[in-house]
Amino acid sequence: MTSHDSTTSDAGAQPLGRTGIRRLGRRRARERAPGEPGSLVAWLFVLPGIAIFAVFTMAPLLYAMGLSFYDWDGLTPKRFIGLANYREAFADPTIRATFLHVVELFAFYTFLPIAFGLLLTALLTRSPIRGLTFYRTVLFLPATIAGVVVAQAWIWIYDKDGPLNAGLRAVGLGSFAQAWLGSFTWALPAVGLVGTWVSYGLCMVLFIAGAQRISPSLYEAARVDGAGAFREFFAVTLPGLRGEIAVALMLTTINALRSFDIVWNTTQGGPGGTTTVPSVLMYLNAFTYNRVGYASTIAVMLAVSILCIIGVIQFFSERGDRR
């Protein structure tokens, strides 16, 4: 009885004691364990990285924020104009159209890849197949190829003599054949589909890895309860992949928002501005229209929208975790 008591009291006291010491250590300028390095040493390790980061990433970001309050053509002296750039931006139909393009791109960059990823994962949890490592390697391939190269490949696919039109003609749908990237109606979905191609394998790889971490006993339990494929997916697979889905959402929405390489190299935002995205509009304003301050405003709006989206996704995925 006594021994039992002492063990329980020990077990109860130990964590308390430890946090107590840690707290004390923090309050009293660091009572360090033998050999534990002090703040100065730690900073020496962090310094090279943080210095380059501060000068070449942080400072430019802050400078962009500053520039967004100026009217500047890049040559003559800057003129401070307060929030005028922002006021103009919020009333600018071009900017509104650009952000609406991104919303449409979400369907292709985010929704389709995640839907495809979940579909394949659901199938694989029902009937595992051989050679999965090989398929994963193949599926992930598009995500490793440079955007400029991806753009060239798809320009060919969408070309008037390209595989897509040849395919349409072969099945008797030749009347639909057209220069897809030159079409006011089809250019944006065509660019979007490139985004789908880049991301769906990545989502699949993420989800397949996540599903492998779901305990098989959950599936057994579901099957004992007589759950069908759909019930099993919604009751076991989908909740088990919540973390991975949040990550995929973040990656793909950010990709849609900041996409530059693919859009620039396929359409340059055309035809008639039907495929502009924020980064393309920023580039055009800064280096073609010489409106550097306004371009910085677009950059800030892009950064803020990315932070907002991450915040929203984090909020919902964490609330889900607590449940």
């Binding site: 364990a33 033998p34 050999g35 534990e36 390095p37 002090g38 703040s39 730690a42 900073w43 390790f45 962090v46 990285g49 943080i50 380059i52 070449f56 990433t57 942080m58 430019p60 970001l61 400078y63 579909l119 394949l120 199938l123 694989l124 009937s127 197949i129 398929y135 390697t137 193949v138 599926l139 992930f140 490793t144 190829i145 955007g147 190269v149 060239q152 490949a153 798809w154 320009i155 060919w156 696919i157 039109n165 040849a166 191609w197 990545l202 993420l206 099957r223 991975e244 530059f260 390489d261 620039w264 920023m282 580039y283 371009a295 910085s296 892009l302 950064a303 990315i306 932070l307 991450i310």
Partner: protein, 279 residues
């Protein structure tokens, strides 16, 4: 439990998705293997392997320069960012110090912030600011330094996660045995960290080799163009007249990454599934 029909559907789907993943690259590869006089439409298997378009693309697109520039930039960024990340990750993962939370927060912010927003200030900064009289504008440094910055934010967070997961007792006993702070890192932790470091290097190399916007804005000198930038210019100049050469040039730009990918695909896949979940 699962029926044969289900298994059949699974195989069919994974085959369709895999074929779709390969198709665009294969279609330009086959296009590149044709001569520009062949009238290629659609997806045509080349009768004979013809590498003339690769040769023309290599010389006319200036890809000797492109390869050289991309290699210099990607290798320097990877080496420097990896070294900085290991050091910073070591401090963030194993030490408590004043401002540690702030440093970590900034690094996480650096991962999610769009580096696109830094392009304008970098361009004008390099034009007008000359530290110690050194002009960085239109040099490799203009590409290397900013990309070390963005890569370090990812790398430090990545290495921190690794060093935090390393057993405390290992570090503490090494310290008690009198190992210096450097000694703990180099003799105790680094040997185990090799896979994590390799994965990080592979990802940083991939991003740097593929980078386009910074090169587009910061490099005007054709000799210093990176391979993707060279491809972009080559495609917009030759585009209409000769598709086979553009296709060949695209394959040339993608080739180094494809080789690295085939050799080290395990690291790509692990980097994405583990790294993404942590970030």
């Amino acid at each position: 439990m699962t029926s044969r029909a289900e298994r059949g559907i699974t195989y069919a789907m994974i085959l369709i998705f895999s074929a779709a993943a390969l198709y665009p690259m294969l279609s330009i590869l086959f296009l590149a293997l044709h001569q520009n006089t062949d009238l290629v439409t659609g997806f045509v298997w080349p009768d004979k392997l013809d590498f003339t378009s690769f040769k023309t693309a290599w010389t006319e697109g200036g890809f000797a320069n492109g390869y050289k520039s991309s290699a210099i930039v990607a290798v320097s960024v990877t080496a420097a960012a990896a070294a900085c990340s290991v050091l910073a990750g070591y401090a963030l993962g194993t030490m408590q110090f004043t401002g540690d939370k702030l440093v970590f927060g900034l690094m996480v912010l650096g991962i999610v912030f769009p580096y696109e927003a830094t392009v304008i200030p970098l361009y004008y900064g390099f034009l007008s600011i000359h530290p110690f009289g050194i002009h960085l504008s239109d040099t490799y440094w203009a590409l290397i330094l900013p990309q070390i910055g963005t890569s370090v934010s990812f790398g430090a967070v990545w290495m921190r996660a690794f060093f935090r997961a390393a057993p405390r007792s290992l570090i503490e006993s090494a310290r008690i045995d009198g190992a210096s702070t450097f000694g703990v890192l180099f003799r105790v932790l680094l040997p185990q960290a090799r896979p994590a470091i390799l994965t990080m290097c592979v990802l940083i190399f991939l991003w740097t080799w593929n980078e386009f916007l910074l090169a587009l804005v910061l490099i005007q000198n054709p000799v210093k163009q990176t391979a993707p930038l060279g491809l972009s210019y080559f495609a917009s100049s030759a585009h209409v007249t000769d598709r086979t050469e553009v296709a060949a040039a695209s394959i040339l730009v993608a080739a180094p990454i494809l080789v690295v990918y085939v050799l080290l695909q395990r690291h790509f896949l692990r980097g994405i599934s583990a790294g993404a979940v942590k970030a």
